[in-house]
């Protein structure tokens, strides 16, 4: 394990996530697509942030980089105070494993593998022993209301249930950051309500959540909304008045 990874005293790191002048260009030359342009964003511990914007505006590109699934073309990304660019591939894998829980629109469960085994998977890569792994995976499955479905395969579960398995899998390592890319995009309204209820409970329990959506109803549940438009990020007026208005990048604590 990397020195300091996950061991930094939390009170000294005010922002779970700190992004400065982040840009992403796909391709090069005439076909280059500037998917993100100089994006600044900070997220504090326990915040529930919704990212909205039109299709093709660059939301997924941003979230993929926050999840260490892709590398930015330029700019800095600090996760728990750690510059991700300094980490090698193996260290990034550890980071994804311990600090990030990623939830996809397409669920992305491993096929032909039971719900329990799917939820256990991050713990396997974390080196957790079999018995503890099982207990924690079962606990995570009960948290999302799927006790009794442990042995079901993805193709034996409804879309809503599959997404709840994916949420359990993202939670099971107790990561600092939960990232969700349109988690309700493939779900009917009842399942959407289930999953959003789950996020509300996680938020109430103090989890940090960044969620992409283009559903206003979904965005309304978040305490803060940022808008991505043509690769640029702007802060929307806060839906609830708990937070003082601020522009991205201005509330950074001195380091």
């Amino acid at each position: 394990m990397t020195a300091g990874l996950g061991t930094a005293p939390l009170e000294q790191v005010p922002h779970v996530l700190d992004v400065r002048k982040l840009s992403k260009v796909y391709g090069s030359g005439e076909t280059a697509v500037h998917a993100l342009r100089d994006v600044d964003l900070t997220v504090r511990r326990g915040e529930y942030v919704a990212v909205i914007g039109q299709s093709g505006s660059g939301k997924s590109t941003l979230l993929n980089m926050l999840g260490c699934l892709d590398a930015p073309t330029s700019g800095r990304y600090l996760l728990e105070g750690l510059d991700v660019a300094d980490l090698d591939e193996r260290q990034q894998a550890v980071l994804r494993n311990r600090q990030i829980g990623f939830i996809f629109q397409a669920f992305n469960l491993i096929p032909r593998t039971s719900a329990l085994a799917n939820v256990e998977l991050p713990l396997v890569y974390a080196g957790v022993g079999r018995r503890v792994r099982r207990e924690r995976a079962q606990a995570a499955l009960s948290l999302v209301g799927l006790q009794g479905r442990e042995d079901h395969r993805p193709n034996q579960l409804s879309g809503g249930q599959q997404q709840r398995v994916a949420v359990a899998r993202a939670l099971v390592t107790t990561p600092a950051l939960l990232l969700a890319d349109e988690p309700t995009g493939n779900l009917d309204s009842a399942s959407t309500a289930d999953v959003l209820g789950l996020f509300d409970r996680l938020h109430a329990a103090g989890r940090t959540i960044v969620l992409i959506t283009h559903d206003d109803e979904v965005a309304e549940r978040a305490e803060r909304v940022v808008v991505v438009s043509d690769g640029r990020l702007t802060e929307a007026a806060p839906s609830a008045a708990e937070l003082p208005p601020r522009r991205p990048g201005t509330a950074r604590a001195p380091r």
Partner: protein
């Protein structure tokens, strides 16, 4: 992440594609079985021929006259009784047990009453029997006294006796005419059967040297000299003693230009052994090619497997699988394929050797088994490494985007 987990993932991956795993293994099974079977065939053939050569008389050495290669037109010196006496000298040739002068005449008419046949008449001394590994069937062999007196007595090979006197008959006491000259039959030779040597002893007629010289060939040169070494171990020493004595007597200074030739079962065995070794190597090379083909099959299937599971690899990476875990999973998959295939291949190859082929049985070489299993494990690593590394190097987002 422990090795146990990696192996568990690998086994799950293989079981998820049972039929494909089996077919891939088939390539290795066939390759390894071919190695085991073909080397066993070569080895079995070698052992069979060694056995046949032992039947020729392991201690027997034959000296033949020949035209020296470099002196075209000029004959070399013939083999004579003087050569025989020199070879029989225990001082000059301590490793020689006996020396038998031989004259022979091929395609000679032998008659008994109305029956007649063609045979090779071999005239020699009593030491010829042990020297050339000839066994007595019925009656007696001729003696030194018979040779000294030039008595016209013969021993008939089994085929000759059968043709002249009827199958299984015992002609001892009867008369035969050898090219019109009457001889008394004093014995028969034990049937040698097919393949015991290069000529068939069953078609020979044996008589005292002097009798053959007196009535058929005249008292001239010898056809050959048969020498018996003291033991199988002493054979090589006896051969070099023969060479040095005859070189001196025949005035030879270039060993490549001798006017005589020394042949032995040992030399024959050496030549055949070399030939069989080359043959076995050829078989092994053919088998090795099929192994390589099997290995390429593994690469192919592992590449397909990596491509097909790119998305799964992406998910695993997104969940924090380090490159080593992905590498390990695919590498272990291909090693399992090749090692299980290798072990099954050894079993199939071994079962194949239990089928007898004609006169000889294939004999499995333990070293071939060890090598085959080792090679199949190496194939798994070598041919699985490329696809596994490709899988491990995939960027998570690229892997996830792939459909």
């Amino acid at each position: 992440m422990s090795v146990v987990e990696i192996v568990r993932f690998a086994v799950r991956g293989l079981i998820a594609n049972r039929l494909r795993s089996l077919l891939t293994m088939l390539g290795i099974i066939i390759g390894i079985a071919a190695v085991i079977l073909l080397t066993a065939l070569g080895n079995g053939a070698s052992q069979y021929i060694q056995g046949q050569i032992a039947g020729l008389g392991a201690n027997s050495i034959t000296v033949l006259p020949r035209q020296p290669p470099d002196t075209v037109g000029t004959d070399g010196r013939p083999l004579t009784q003087g050569d025989v006496r020199a070879l029989a000298d225990p001082q000059g040739a301590p490793d020689v047990a006996s020396v038998s002068p031989v004259v022979s005449v091929q395609d000679t008419t032998v008659e008994a009453g109305r029956a007649r046949t063609d045979a090779t008449i071999i005239g020699s001394t009593p030491s010829y029997f042990p020297g050339a590994n000839v066994q007595l069937g019925t009656g007696r062999t001729y003696t030194e006294a018979d040779v000294t007196a030039g008595r016209k007595v013969v021993l008939l090979g089994r085929t000759v006796a059968d043709e002249l006197f009827g199958i299984g008959s015992d002609p001892v006491g009867r008369d035969v005419l050898v090219r019109g000259v009457p001889f008394d039959v004093i014995g028969t030779l034990a049937p040698a059967g097919q393949g015991q040597g290069l000529s068939n002893p069953d078609e020979n007629v044996l008589a005292p040297l002097t009798a053959v010289q007196g009535s058929l060939t005249g008292f001239g040169d010898l056809t050959q000299i048969v020498v018996q070494a003291r033991s199988t171990e002493a054979q090589a020493a006896a051969e070099s003693e023969i060479n040095s004595i005859l070189d001196r007597r025949h005035g030879i200074d270039d060993p490549d230009n001798r006017d005589y030739q020394v042949l032995s079962a040992r030399q024959l065995a050496d030549v055949l052994d070399d030939t069989l070794g080359a043959f076995t190597l050829l078989l092994a090379a053919i088998a090795a090619i099929s192994l390589v083909v099997g290995g390429i099959g593994i690469t192919n299937i592992m590449l397909v497997s990596v491509t097909e599971r790119t998305r799964e690899i992406g998910i695993r990476k997104a969940l924090g699988a380090p490159p080593s875990a992905i590498l390990g999973q695919f590498l272990v998959e291909s090693i399992i394929l090749s090692v299980v295939g290798g072990v099954l291949g050894v079993a199939v190859g071994y079962a194949g050797t239990l089928v007898p082929l004609g006169d000889f049985r294939p004999v499995v070489l333990p070293s071939a088994v060890v090598a085959a299993v080792g090679v199949s494990a190496a194939i798994g690593i070598f041919f699985g490494a490329y696809p596994a590394r490709r899988a491990a190097r995939l960027r998570p987002i690229e892997a996830l985007r792939r459909e």
